[in-house]
Amino acid sequence: MTNSSSVAPEIQFANLEQQGDTAQLGIWVFLVNETIFFGALIFTYFVYRISYPQEFAAAAKDAVLWCGSVNLAILLTSSLTMVLAINAGAQGRRQEMVTLLIVTAALGCAFLLIKGYEYYLDFQDHVVPVVDFATKPGEGSAGELFWIFYWVATGLHAIHLMIGIALVLYMLLWRIRRGEIGSAYYAPLEVVGIYWSFVDVVWLFLYPCIYLVGRS
């Protein structure tokens, strides 16, 4: 098993610190792409919400508020455990790092379980466009636009979260187990942490779009 202190930088880098900084800039470049990706989706949402405010308010009443709210708390907590795991790794507390990463992955899985249950409730409520959609009073035909946004946005977010969970498990089962992550070099964990927190930020923006429309 290698030791993080014996990890050597790749040939194009002068030292591990430069390699780590470059990796972080790389993930930020990717997140710029993700910002525009989700930002364009939310722009579309706002165009239609401004066009059909009453229909959107009527359609959003079927959104399951408790599922979205619990998931928001879960994701914020998972961001905390992720950042604490990075701190533990950087400070050489290996067991604490592993425990916190397991908790982070578990919270991510809990989010997906609640989301899956919410999808089940959505099928029960007949709010699945094209597949099984029943227009409720006050929704008109524009109410289906809200639910199209809902399924596309939450589906894409769930896929991003699954990728995040896979990355955390890769860190745990491959990099950390082989001793490649430790106080001497923890940049890969920081990269995963930045990605994880961004997935959290996306849910922060999606939450009021979906769950807080027309509640009063």
Partner: protein, 118 residues
């Protein structure tokens, strides 16, 4: 001079991050509250204002922009910079459209009703 806790991974303590997490949850509660206060058109404005604050906190502390080199800030902000072009240029289309946003009539939203206004 750096303001606030030291969040470098090698020196950071857990307490500041727990406090930040609690602040994020409190802000989330306010966000939910705005939906039930009957604020009308101000509700989404307040909600997304709170979201912007939450996102800034996550970017600064959880994603560790605080204390980072300026280059990382440039990369982080550039996404929203380019997004502003997408929003701004796309809105020039909608802002120039007659009949948008629609006026609600007895038959529902009408994109033509503006043209009948005196």
């Amino acid at each position: 001079m750096s303001i606030g806790p030291d969040i470098h991974p090698k020196r950071a303590r857990a307490a500041p991050f727990v406090i930040i997490w609690a602040i994020l949850l409190v802000l989330a509660s306010f966000k939910v509250l705005t939906a039930f206060l009957g604020m009308g058109v101000w509700a989404p404005i307040a909600q997304f204002g709170i979201v912007a604050i939450q996102a800034s906190i996550v970017f600064t502390f959880f994603m560790r922009l605080k204390g980072s080199p300026s280059l990382k800030w440039v990369f982080a902000v550039s996404g929203f910079f380019w997004l502003s072009f997408l929003y701004g240029l796309s809105m020039t289309d909608y802002a120039d459209r007659q009949g948008w946003p629609p006026i609600y009539t007895s038959d529902g939203p009408s994109f033509q009703a503006h043209q009948n206004q005196p």
